[in-house]
């Protein structure tokens, strides 16, 4: 007889809001954000082993959504468009959520960074996470996060 296993639909209802918020903040586009969230949860139906249970589901989901958003930015050709538009963007200032043009400048840089560095940059610059929190999400040491963040200005300089 088939055995019953845990439900993705319930996870979607419980965690979908935070996933959608994350995707919105990274992509700045409601429709694409919904696509990313749907794809993330549907992929769990096909490959539930993605979430190995080594961390809390929220932590895994933050990382998974960020990864998909970065791929979406790359795939959609936003890179060239945003870079053209914001190549000389001024450095963003603080504030809850940041101004749209500032976030666009951040996204423009993200799509040209190496994958791991881009993910760290999202958590640091867009989410406002601490080194400790980023290390927890990515499953690596705080020292590594610090080292990679220190290397970011150099990468950004090269890209510009």
């Amino acid at each position: 007889m088939p055995a019953l296993t845990p439900t993705v639909a319930e996870l979607y209802r419980t965690y979908g809001a935070s996933a959608l918020r994350r995707a919105r903040s990274i992509l700045g586009d409601e429709a694409r954000a919904q696509d990313v969230v749907q794809d993330t949860f549907v992929s769990l139906l096909a490959r539930p082993e993605q979430f190995a249970g080594r961390s809390a589901f929220s932590t895994w989901l933050y990382s998974a959504v960020t990864h998909r958003c970065l791929n979406t930015l790359r795939d959609q050709g936003n890179r060239a468009r945003l870079l053209d538009r914001h190549a000389d963007a001024a450095a963003p200032s603080g504030g809850h959520g940041g101004a749209p043009e500032e976030l666009a400048a951040v996204r423009a840089l993200l799509v040209r960074l190496p994958a791991e560095l881009a993910q760290i940059a999202v958590h640091y610059y867009i989410d406002g996470m601490t080194h400790h929190e980023i290390a927890e999400v990515l499953g690596c040491s705080r020292r590594r996060i610090g080292t990679l963040l220190e290397s970011l200005p150099g990468h950004a300089q090269e890209i510009r």
Binding site: M1, P2, A3, L4, T5, P6, T7, V8, A9, Y12, R13, T14, Y15, G16, A17, S18, L20, R21, R22, S25, A31, Q34, D35, Q38, F41, V42, L45, A46, R47, P48, A56, F57, S58, T59, Y62, A91, P92, S93, G94, G95, H96, G97, G98, E102, L103, V106, L109, A121, Y124, Y125, I126, D127, G128, M129, T130, E133, V137, L152, P153, A156
Partner: protein, 244 residues
């Protein structure tokens, strides 16, 4: 490059607040977080905001759809995709030795609206629809979905080759489960098939009103044919479980 999102120094991140809201924090962390929030208006407001978001989403999320139109499909591709999606959904009674032929357009129109279940199985890393009469291998993981244009009530049973009946949905309630109109809505369980070869039949019963699943389960166990009564639809899917 400066941070685009900045919260006051020492305040809670969204990740911590999300984990608080869904109950992932252990007792010590929860006490610490709530202690901070009690003395911090910024965090109190942020917790309320994110909790409201979560509750609103949980109450009426955009349906989790296995088949969504691709946003960039245009023209003929869109028409073909729509036709393929329609062809997949209509199998109101799928029992019998032969897989049903693909429905003609008239069949689709005539049967449009009948409630039914769908099955999806992972193949080559992607979800593929599983139709009645198809073969599966032991260990296959299958995700059921349902489609209905009207609100109603649903129960799903499994019958193995030896005639044993198992109630899959709702698993632990004596009555059917209410369902709202949806297309290919994933049901809150999946099926993992064991290594015993043979037939597996799924029987899904949709009715306008709630019904007694225990009585229905007994009829199935006694091998009494289940026919749809007034306001009900019965959908059957036969799968053949092969030896690995």
């Amino acid at each position: 490059m400066q941070r685009a999102f900045q919260r006051p120094s020492g305040c809670l991140s969204d990740l911590v607040i999300d984990r608080l809201i869904v109950g992932e924090l252990d007792d010590a962390a929860r006490v610490e977080v709530l202690g901070h929030a009690a003395a911090c208006t910024w965090c109190t407001a942020r917790i309320a905001e994110l909790r409201g978001e979560q509750q609103a989403f949980a109450a009426g999320p955009v349906p989790l759809a296995l088949h969504r139109p691709k946003r960039r499909i245009l023209g003929l591709s869109a028409a073909l995709a729509a036709a393929a999606a329609l062809a997949l959904v209509f199998l109101p009674d799928r029992s019998g030795p032969e897989p049903e032929p693909a429905p003609e357009l008239e069949d689709v129109v005539r049967t449009k609206g009948a409630a039914h279940v769908g099955l999806y199985v992972e193949r080559d890393g992607k979800l593929s629809p599983l139709l009645s009469g198809e073969h599966i291998v032991p260990g296959a993981r299958v995700q059921p979905t349902y489609t209905t244009t009207e609100p109603g009530h649903l129960a799903i049973f499994g019958i193995d080759g030896a005639g044993r009946v198992q109630r899959h949905y709702p698993a632990d309630a004596p009555a059917s489960a209410p369902v709202r109109p949806a297309r290919d809505e994933p049901l809150p369980f999946s099926l993992a098939f064991d290594a015993t070869p043979g037939r597996e039949r799924l029987v899904a019963v949709f009715c306008e009103q709630a019904f007694d699943t225990a009585a229905l389960e007994r009829r199935l166990a006694d091998d009494v044919a289940v026919e749809p009564g007034p306001g009900c639809t019965v959908d059957r899917i036969d799968l053949h479980k092969d030896e690995r």
